[in-house]
Amino acid sequence: MTKEECRKLVIDIISDIAPDEDVTTVKPDVRLRDQLQLDSMDFLDIVMELRKRHGIEVPEADYMQLASLDSCAEYLTPKFQAKA
């Protein structure tokens, strides 16, 4: 699992959580909430989908790690790699 692959998995989830949004133009280094209509409930859904689809757990204390695509990749890629 590369960071680029990780970003793609996160984008796949976001496109389901926020189906009205155009996710093709998401800037990886900008906070997701600053460029997409996402609220705190949506982030709970993202956490749930990571759990369901990939068996990845994100503790509440780490939610801020999901702020941008880049920070998601930074935080989640080692978790994916640990599961491989």
Partner: protein
């Protein structure tokens, strides 16, 4: 006590055989059923009535994802009703708009889905969605409407089993008369076919319809009827005080003439024809009418062997003093039992009779059950009549709740 006059000024609906009043009415006159076979979780294929409206006409994809099927039905119907009424919501005091929706039940769909969901994860509840509680609170469908329309007045549901559709309108009339609101958006909704539990419950009760041809499965008054066809649907009206409606030059579909809600107090499931007859009689008194004033009686009959007979007995008793029989019909033969939407939808299907003087029939009667052979039944073909000035609509529900609503032609 002199009542403020309340009128219906807008109608939005979705039924298994139509997504607006014109389409629905046309199919009722043409004998077009909306029932098909559908896959029910754990149970296989069963006849059911599903609606084909487009939720995305009035909702974003995300709202459909987060909300409920009952909410989508409610929003579609409410938006269509407001559009039909010609009311410009943005110019209204949003705090003076009430949303009152009758429901048979709510939350079964979402709860079943979540239980099924966690069953895929060894019943580990950490996979249970945080959306469960807002989706399943009893006010959810009405709350979704208030969110979508931006109304800030009262918005809640009225739980009244299958009498609920009428209850939405009755409650709206009461709130308008109390001057609690200036505009009521009210009716009934149901998403019941999305839950296997209601199918399984009626199956265990030996009250679930089966037929090789799903369009023939709902057959009230027919000798071969064998149970209920479960359907979804919604019908929401805009109701206003007459003076307000006239002041804005509104189109008026009809006027609330009278109503009654009562309880059997006899059984959880079995209806009580004596109380049903009493409900009809009290509604007539409330409307200051006699049986001779009623031109159409829309029955609740659900196509169960016993229930249909009992309602026929109730109607025969209530209308025994009538000189000429009223036209008696049934809408469930086309759309199945739309549960919380039933009363509101079935009324809507009959309101055009004020204009066209045609009574839609009940279909699928190949052999009339002699015990349901009451005077005035309109069977299989529409009937033209000389007068339609008042429509009496019955809806009855489990735990013995009965509602009768009488709508009369609007006259100055």
């Amino acid at each position: 006590m002199k009542h403020t006059r309340i009128v219906i000024t807008g109608i939005g609906l979705t039924a298994p055989n139509g997504n607006n009043l014109a389409e629905f009415r046309q199919n009722l006159l043409n004998g077009v059923s909306g029932i098909g076979m559908t896959e029910v979780r754990y149970m296989g294929q069963w006849p059911a009535g599903l609606c084909k409206f487009d939720p995305l006409k009035h909702q974003k994809k995300k709202d459909v994802r987060i909300g409920t099927r009952a909410g989508s039905i409610s929003i579609y119907c409410a938006r269509e009703a407001v559009a039909d009424s010609g009311i410009a919501l943005e110019a209204r005091d949003k705090s003076r708009i009430g949303v009152y929706l009758g429901i048979t039940e709510h939350g079964n769909v979402e709860t079943e889905n979540e239980v099924y969901n966690i069953s895929q994860f060894k019943y580990d509840t950490k996979f249970w969605t945080h959306h469960h509680n807002p989706r399943t609170v009893a006010n959810s469908p009405a709350g979704e409407v208030s969110l979508n329309l931006g109304t800030t007045g009262p918005a809640y549901t009225i739980g009244a089993a299958c009498a609920a559709g009428n209850m939405g309108l009755i409650h709206a009339a009461q709130m308008l008369r109390l001057d609690e609101v200036d505009l009521a958006i009210a009716g009934g909704v149901s998403e019941s076919p999305q839950t296997f539990g209601i199918f399984a419950g009626f199956k265990s009760q030996n009250a679930l319809a089966s037929h090789a041809d799903p369009t023939k499965a709902s057959r009230p008054f027919d000798k071969a009827r064998n149970g209920i066809v479960i359907s979804e649907g919604g019908c929401i009206y805009t109701l206003e005080r007459l003076d307000d409606a006239l002041a804005r030059g509104a189109k008026i579909y009809g006027e609330i003439a009278g109503y009654c809600v009562n309880s059997d107090a006899t059984d959880y499931v079995l209806p009580n024809p004596e109380r049903q007859a009493q409900c009809v009689e009290k509604a007539l008194i409330n409307a200051r009418m006699t049986v001779d004033d009623i031109d159409i009686v829309n029955t609740h009959a659900t196509s169960t062997p016993q229930g249909d007979i009992q309602e026929c007995h109730a109607i025969a008793a209530a209308f025994s003093k009538r000189k000429e029989p009223a036209a008696i019909n049934n809408t469930k033969s086309f759309i199945g039992h739309c549960m919380g939407a039933a009363g509101a939808l079935e009324l809507a299907g009959n309101l055009p009779s004020f204009d066209d003087l045609v009574v839609h029939p009940t279909i699928n009667v190949d052999e009339l059950d002699p015990q349901c052979d009451i005077p005035g039944l309109v069977i299989n073909q529409p009937r033209s009549v000389k007068r339609v000035d008042a429509i009496l609509n019955n809806s009855f529900g489990m735990l013995g709740i009965n509602s009768t609503l009488i709508i009369k032609r609007y006259r100055t």
